[in-house]
């Protein structure tokens, strides 16, 4: 496996039917195992970048390479499969399918990716291990996810992103729905588990105060030439 987790080369992305590009990134590279804090205010092209990295959006120009695979050269189904196999996502909130139990939510990636199922070993035992490590009380595991508190839901979402040890974790504002004391606790848990799994972590937030403890801090406004600060 390549020492570079993520390489972006000359990337230009434009929303459909819009004249101005919203992403124009000449170059970016992230090393395997690196924990990167990506600081970006809203309008700086954050969700477009995540869409391109996840393979749900295709750039107009340029190349994105994840762990040596040029995902921008893959077809739609191959990009979907690559995302399932190699990337774990945590979103701002409403991460979970509310009608599945916490444990079943954690197990979801194993039903979409044979690779992650294999890497999880015994998926149910691994889900239990992750939920324990992320401090979710055992009696909540089999409750519908919709009945958990926001903080509990975010920990379940982290366990789901981690199961089957995907090489890349992408967290998009995962703490913005949490109160301040819980934010740092959640970040500590996430950093700890990502480190234990040897995953590369891309943590995106508009809140620069959370940047401590990360190996590297990037500002999207600096790497994205299309984000001149004037974008709404």
């Amino acid at each position: 496996m390549s020492a570079e987790a993520l390489v972006i080369h000359d990337l230009v992305y434009r929303w459909p039917r819009q004249r101005a590009a919203c992403l124009d990134i000449p170059g970016l590279s992230v090393a395997t195992g690196e924990r990167v804090f990506l600081h970006g205010p809203s309008g700086s092209g954050k969700s477009s970048l995540l869409g391109v990295l996840g393979g749900v959006a295709l750039p107009e120009r340029g190349r994105v390479t994840l762990f040596g695979a040029a995902i921008t050269a893959l077809g739609g189904r191959a990009r979907d499969a690559f995302r399932a196999d190699h990337i774990g996502f945590i979103f701002q909130q409403f991460n979970l399918l509310p009608w599945l139990s916490a444990c079943d939510n954690v197990l979801l990636p194993c039903t979409f990716s044979a690779r992650r199922k294999r890497r999880a070993g015994d998926p149910v035992a691994e889900a239990a291990r992750l939920l324990s490590a992320l401090d979710l009380a055992r009696e909540l595991w089999h409750q519908p996810a919709g009945e958990l508190s926001v903080g509990q839901q975010q920990r379940v979402a982290a366990a789901r992103a981690l199961i089957g040890r995907p090489e890349l974790l992408i967290a998009d504002e995962p703490t913005s729905a949490l109160d301040a004391p819980r934010q740092q606790a959640f970040i500590d848990l996430l950093l700890g588990e990502a480190g234990a799994a040897g995953a590369t972590l891309l943590f995106v937030s508009h809140d620069a105060r959370l940047a401590a403890h990360f190996d590297r801090v990037l500002a999207l406004t600096e790497i994205n030439r299309a984000a001149d600060g004037s974008a709404a």
Binding site: L50, P98, W99, F112
Partner: protein, 423 residues
């Protein structure tokens, strides 16, 4: 794909209330459509099998539908009678195995009275050649010693409360208000079992009885000054001079057309012979438009039900944008999202159709006796016919088409939203 199937089922279960209501609407619509189809088939079967085992119906020359109407359904009246001699000539034709004469025109409290021979109860069949059965009593004797005996159909017995041993009067003409043959009461000697045919609504008496009650009548009214007491009628010749119609059975069905030609060309009198099956079909055809309108209405109800499915699923999509984005993040492609919606639509449609079938079967089981009693239509519990299976398949197919719309929209949505749905 299996993962998507399981998730589609669980997601649908989480929205079971709204989907359940949609399902109920589809079930009711499907049951209605199937019921109309079932009643249509059974009504047609009941109707066209009102009489079976009879090869020809004989009457005076008239329209074939009109002949069937009065000879089989005892409705309307014959414009002309047949002379007894003409009837005898045809009954003795070597091709004829048996014949049953019918004299019509009188009634008992609105129910038609049929003068006939005792052979009527052996020869007249209905449905799939089922013979008439007696719920109580016996056929009338038909001889001069026991003239005033009557056998009533099940519906007559039920509505008028007549039982074996009861007395009844016969009125002249078919109305409720005709003058009665009050001096010659009949005794009910038999009650027929229900058949779902016009027999249920008939009173049967012997030919001599028919002649006897008219001995002292002329031109539709009692002859003034002449009254022949019931006890004396056997002194008279009770052989009828005319009959209204006759049912004819042949030795060999192959000779039916040649006999029909002979009868229609009968020299002595203008006669008509019709094949009852053909004439009944012809009569049914006049009702087909009603049947088709009813069917079209029910098909519309099904379409409304399925449009409800489309609307429900489209409405739920807005609330499910997050759910679809999460599935996308987990690796589901737009194709899987599309399939998920199709699975949901097909699930609701097929469960709806299934529930509709069960509903129909239960309703038929509960309502069959009532329907037969009131409308004379025999509804049976049976596996779906080929027609019904085609209908079920058509509903499922339409359900699939109905879920294509939300499926396509979810596809578009998941492509546009990617991982971050906008609200």
């Amino acid at each position: 794909m299996k993962a998507i199937l399981v998730l589609a089922l669980k997601s649908a279960w989480a929205r079971r209330l709204t989907l359940g209501i949609t399902l109920a609407a589809i079930a009711l619509a499907a049951a209605l459509l199937l019921a109309v189809e079932r009643v249509r088939q059974d009504a047609r079967a009941s109707f066209t099998q009102s009489i079976s085992g009879v090869d020809l119906v004989l009457g005076a020359r008239t329209g074939s539908v009109q002949l069937i109407l009065y000879a089989v359904f005892h409705s309307g009246s014959a414009s002309n009678n047949i002379r007894w001699e003409s009837y005898q000539a045809i009954a003795q034709n070597p091709a004829v195995a048996w014949s049953v004469p019918l004299v019509l025109g009188d009634s008992h409290r609105g129910f038609p009275v049929i003068g006939t021979s005792p052979a009527y109860f052996e020869r007249v069949r209905y449905a799939d050649r089922k013979p008439l059965a007696f719920a109580a009593g016996r056929p009338f004797a038909g001889d001069a010693d026991a003239v005033f005996e009557a056998v009533i159909g099940s519906e007559v017995a039920r509505q008028l409360g007549h039982r074996v041993g009861d007395r009844l009067l016969i009125a002249h003409g078919s109305g409720e208000l005709g003058p009665e043959h009050a001096d010659k009461p009949f005794v009910v000697v038999g009650v027929l079992a229900a058949t779902g045919t016009p027999t249920d609504r008939s009173v049967h008496v012997s030919l001599p009885a028919m002649t006897a009650i008219h001995l002292d009548w002329a031109g539709g009214a009692p002859l003034p000054g002449l009254q022949i007491p019931a006890g004396l009628v056997r002194k008279f010749d009770l052989q009828p001079k005319e009959i209204t119609a006759a049912l004819i059975g042949l030795h060999n069905r192959a000779s039916v057309f040649s006999l029909q030609r002979q009868i229609n060309a009968f020299a002595g009198e203008a006669l008509l012979a019709v094949l009852p099956g053909v004439a009944l079909d012809e009569l049914w055809q006049t009702l087909v438009v009603v049947e088709q309108i009813l069917f079209a209405l029910c098909a519309l109800v099904v379409l409304v039900g399925l449009a409800g499915l489309t609307a429900t699923m489209l409405a739920s999509l807005d609330q499910r944008r997050r759910e679809l984005a999460i599935l996308r993040a987990l690796g589901a492609g737009p194709r899987e999202i599309f399939c998920m919606l199709l699975i949901e639509g097909l699930l609701v449609t097929s469960l709806g159709v299934l529930v509709g079938c069960v509903l129909l079967a239960a309703t038929i089981a509960a309502a069959a006796p009532l329907v037969q009693a009131h409308f004379g239509v025999v509804l049976g519990a049976r596996p779906p016919s080929a027609n019904e299976i085609v209908l079920l398949a058509a509903i499922l197919l339409t359900g699939l088409v109905a879920s294509l719309v939300p499926g396509w929209r979810a596809w578009r949505m998941s492509l546009a939203d990617g991982l971050t749905p906008r609200h």
